[in-house]
């Protein structure tokens, strides 16, 4: 059985790639065995998983060197879902290879002009990756949204310039996401405190899997 590969990618650092990747993986793990491949040399995903008292719901592995879609399908065929946590650079082999290998690319983006400007190269790279990966679907995910902020409310309009669809499901700015990282768990494991955040991740998964 081929593993379903989701890459969480953005060249901008601090966009919430690891937070989305880890919680997404925890949500996917409720549906089938899931592995997170930490492609970032900073190793934040691995660090996250190592902090918890309880085992993280998804397996987390770090991977370096040359690899491609075939490698992933061969090495991780035991997993139903593979989530690639990419480094904050499009110049690295890892990010470009992830776009060429994945089924879904999720691009977390913050409601900030600087983040928008910095992410403008992504649609070009996605178009380039589609030349070798025709099944690639890419979505922007609004992250750390503050509903009362004018900037957050303006984001969907501004993102029309990207030529990449934006998920209806958005992730709000919540302290619980940072708290989960600190505890080495996902928002699903935080009981009532994590309910709203877990519902947001579920909405992302439902929209992506249903796409």
């Amino acid at each position: 059985m081929a593993t379903h590969i989701t890459a969480v990618v953005n060249q901008k650092g601090g966009a919430g790639k690891t937070t989305l990747a880890m919680n997404l993986a925890a949500g996917l793990a409720r549906r089938g065995d899931t592995v997170v491949i930490d492609l970032d040399p900073q190793g934040s995903a691995r660090q996250w998983a190592s902090l918890g008292n309880a085992p993280f719901p998804a397996t987390v592995k770090q991977m370096f060197g040359d690899w491609d879609a075939q490698t992933l399908h061969k090495d991780f065929r035991a997993f139903r879902y593979t989530v690639l946590d990419c480094p904050p650079s499009l110049d690295s082999h890892a990010s470009l290879q992830a776009l060429r290998a994945c089924d879904i690319a999720l691009i977390p983006i913050l409601p900030s002009p600087v983040d928008l400007w910095a992410s403008l190269r992504l649609p070009l790279e996605i178009a380039e990756a589609r030349k070798v990966n025709r099944r690639l679907k890419a979505f922007l995910v609004l992250n750390q949204v503050e509903p009362r902020s004018a900037l957050s409310a303006s984001m969907r309009d501004a993102l029309k310039e990207f030529d990449v669809p934006v998920l209806e499901a958005a992730i709000r700015r919540r302290a619980i996401y940072r708290g989960a990282a600190l505890d080495g768990v996902s928002v699903y494991q935080l009981g009532r405190r994590g309910t709203l955040a877990a519902a947001e991740i579920e909405a992302v998964i439902d929209e992506v899997i249903g796409s």
């Binding site: 928008l116 190269r121 004018a150 409310a153 303006s154 984001m155 309009d157 501004a158 310039e161 990207f162």
Partner: protein
């Protein structure tokens, strides 16, 4: 609210436009790189590189450059004070000898 929305969209369009030439340059350079060639500039016809001299430019070139006439250094190293007249030393026509 509308202002923020407009400003944000406009800033993205502007950033996109600024990145466009860069991307075009990159894509234009890639085939050359793949062919193992170093980018070369097309040969220009003789004299094509010369810019026609503008009136202002030639006038500026012809205009004599005024160099500041160096005044001889005062013979004494004694610093001048507000109420004191600087010693002209051995200079024939010092800039300032007497108070106005």
């Amino acid at each position: 609210m509308t202002t923020t929305k407009d400003k944000l969209s406009a800033s993205v369009r502007q950033a996109k436009a600024a990145q466009q030439p860069e991307a075009e340059t990159r894509s234009a350079a890639e085939p050359e790189k793949a062919a193992g060639k170093t980018p070369t500039t097309p040969k220009k016809p003789a004299g094509a590189g010369r810019k026609p001299a503008t009136k202002a430019a030639s006038a500026a070139r012809k205009a004599p450059t005024r160099t500041r006439k160096e005044t001889p250094a005062p013979a004494t190293d004694k610093p001048a004070t507000a109420n004191e007249v600087r010693d002209s030393g051995t200079a024939l026509f010092p800039e300032r000898v007497w108070p106005d």
